[in-house]
Symmetry: C2
Subunit: 313 residues, 2 copies
Amino acid sequence: MPVSSELIEKLRSSDKKTLAKVLTKVENEEEGSEEILKEIFKFTGNAHRIGITGPPGAGKSTLTNNLIKLMTEKGFKVGVIAVDPTSPFTGGALLGDRIRMQDSGMLENVFIRSMATRGSLGGLCKNVVEACDVLDASGKDFILIETVGVGQSELDIAQTADTTIVVLVPESGDSVQAMKAGLMEIADIFVLNKSDREGADAVAATIKNIIHLKPPSKDGWVINVIKTTGSQNKGTDLLFDEIISHKNHLRESGFLKEKRKEHLKNKIVDLVSGKLEVNFWNEKRKEDLKKNLNDMLERKNDPYSYTETLLSR
Amino acid sequence: MPVSSELIEKLRSSDKKTLAKVLTKVENEEEGSEEILKEIFKFTGNAHRIGITGPPGAGKSTLTNNLIKLMTEKGFKVGVIAVDPTSPFTGGALLGDRIRMQDSGMLENVFIRSMATRGSLGGLCKNVVEACDVLDASGKDFILIETVGVGQSELDIAQTADTTIVVLVPESGDSVQAMKAGLMEIADIFVLNKSDREGADAVAATIKNIIHLKPPSKDGWVINVIKTTGSQNKGTDLLFDEIISHKNHLRESGFLKEKRKEHLKNKIVDLVSGKLEVNFWNEKRKEDLKKNLNDMLERKNDPYSYTETLLSR
């Protein structure tokens, strides 16, 4: 199915209705979505992609809101993808964050999209990257990707973001400890939000200590801890300056190219895996698997031998 | 490489050194691990697998400890897999939970293993299922799989556990709200831990309300909320009774077979995908991808067209 040049033009001029329609198509992997993604790829690569992640309750939505306001005040065009935790079964997204974001969503140069996470093969956030491509092609300067929750989605975000911000709060305490190892690896910037609360300085010191213990990053970037108080919109300017510093550093060091090459490589590996899977599981093989499951349940056969047979046929 | 019958015998008699060695092999996907898994598959399927999950700080480790004690007192053999949040890069596990679990680990009929989560293709917890198979073949009655954190790992656990326990605490508050949708789908039993704290009754009531709003489960199981106070070892007996109820229900309703059939199906799909991927990405194709990345970075080509070409060759 050829993609109409009118659609591409409307998308590139950031027409909100078109954007919404295309994002839905891409999110649901509707027919024709890959053709659109193929067509718009040449218009991507201009937006700076910022991942915002951290434990639940760290105030990521408020912080995202504050960044949106600041960025649009400075004349930038901003796209936002909010990845909601949700059921792999119903696929529905929660309303909370959408509502909280609405006052920013009213602004002219902002486009906000909530996406449901799905427990699908091939990665939790597969279509988030593609949604970013759509926003990117529509001419956004910044794309903010907010992920709620911890775990796989954070690692996926680090696989598409140019700058990854990890948001923590003083009272995270134990859970901060528990998540430190994983978060430390992906953070380009740490934000200590709700930093007016008790224990903020101690947590900030702990984070700084761990940063110092890390081997220096390949590209020479030094991770900072930025203190914010999201509810009072304090520290947003400092955070924005730090984002710009990181953005400039990536460009000047040539590391942006390396990072994006890595992201692209992963994207292709995912694309190939998806196609191989779809091609392999034709009706005949699906039927064969169904027939053989009982034998395996009764331990007359094992999944390894069965897979070997299936692949060798 | 043929697997020695001595190794299999030692494994089946639950020799701790052998168990540790085989689990390491399986966790790291060392050569020969698949042969072992193939060989032991016929001895699996006897253990009841229990997933224990929930937000960080909910007291899952303490609860797991309490369950281990109770189960071993009753004469059961218990295997434990603790999935630690950790870096996808270093692959190292945190020490905290291991240490907390050590007093149980000293007991004769318990085998505890901490595993690192890895950001690998094909699922975060791929080898956790295989580790469960190893423990299962060693003659355990119960296998407890404790996952720290929320997100993909929880969904993966629901894909291998016979019974999934979701642990919440009164003060989870907002984050409980945020995670409710996803957790609701996978829970067979809810535990409200730290239930001596303020707000416990309100949270218990909220959970019960949501349970009532759910459509009744296919197999007729009714989800209960069990109140515990892990630090005082209160409510562990109630939780154990509920696990046994669910275990019996699964067997009597025939739903255990359905559940395990589904798990087996997913396992084979994963196995196939892994093999297809490994077979596809030979040195020549890897080299080709490497050469073409720059063209795509410069937007002279797009990943979709490139993937098509690669697959059609």
